[in-house]
Structures are given as C-alpha cells and as structure tokens.
Symmetry: C2
Subunit: 103 residues, 2 copies
C-alpha cells in the first residue's frame, strides 16, 4: 500500500528526528545542540518569524520545557515541540500573528 | 523563502485539518464524523495495522480522549492525536510492534 501524503509527512518527521538524534550519544533522543541544529535547519521561516532575533534562546526554551529527567528530549517531547510550532502556524493561518500556542 | 520539507509537512497537516473541519458547522473544529472521514482517508495503513478490525471504535476512542467541552476536537486536540499516531509509528520504526503510545 502506498503511503498517503500525511503518512509520508509523519515518516518524514521520524526520519528527521533520527537524522539529528544519532549525531551524538543518546541515539534516540535529542540534546540541546541537536535540537538547535535541527530547528535552525528545518524551520528557518518559523525561527525568523517567531524567535525575536534570539533563536538560541528561543530553542532553549522549547528544549527546557520538554526535556526528560536525563536532560534530553525523547520522541514524545519532540512531537510536543512539533505540535507547538504547528499550533502557532495554524493560528497564523487565521491571521492571529502572535507566536505562542495558547488558544 | 522556500519552505523546507518539514515546513511543508506542517502546512500539509494544517490544510488537511481545514479540508475536513469545514465540512460541517464548527468550521475550525472536527466532529467525530469529520475525524473519522479524515483518518480513514489519510491513515489507511495505520488503521489497517492498529485498529484491530474496528476502525470506527478505534477512531471514536481517539476522538473522545481529545474532544473539548463542546464535543468537538480543535486543532490542538487534533495535533495531540497526530502526535499519538506518530509516536506509535516511531516505536514501530524500532520494532516495537505494539499499537499504543506509552513509552
């Protein structure tokens, strides 16, 4: 069975996570450095819109809010961050130009 | 600036949500019927793998766990469901063949 567009998008997210999570130890988790590399590379438009000139601080905020007890972000935490970014884009699709994901 | 692959994937999710959410009233929220239509159409592989022969019941479970006080699923709830599905796919990428998104 061929993947639908959304099934392909989901696999793209998983592949991106693994691409960055395997750069250092903790091969199935992201360090702050790995998350920073990923978001700068994969979400440049989002960062230039919402990071207020401080991309490293903005990404550290996302990281700190979703890291586990071992100080890394696992896939569930990663998906929470992806959800937050997507929620902000959804609001912007309705001309709410804030950059937070509160309702 | 051109969208990256992940920025495009994120917009694809938003467009799919709107495509189904606007079918009936509550134009920025999904009814059970709309969520059912969407998941059956967009995630056929996932359903055939994890719904244990009862796709309607499986989708109703996702819906009931994420609906708001007005009985519909808003975009945040939708992203939680998308996260749950993606978490299960991520586990399966590591040969954990269960269909729940617990760690």
């Amino acid at each position: 069975m061929t993947d639908t567009k959304l099934e392909g998008a989901m696999k793209g997210l998983i592949n991106s996570f693994h691409k960055y999570s395997t750069k250092t130890e903790g091969w199935d988790e992201l360090s702050l450095q790995e998350l920073t590399q990923m978001i700068k590379k994969e979400y440049p438009t989002f960062l230039s819109t919402c990071a207020l000139g401080n991309p490293d601080g903005f990404i550290k905020g996302l990281f700190d809010n979703n890291k586990g007890q071992n100080g890394q972000v696992d896939f569930k935490g990663f998906m929470t961050i992806m959800g937050q970014i997507t929620n902000i884009y959804h609001k912007r699709s309705h001309n709410d130009k804030t950059c937070d994901d509160r309702k």
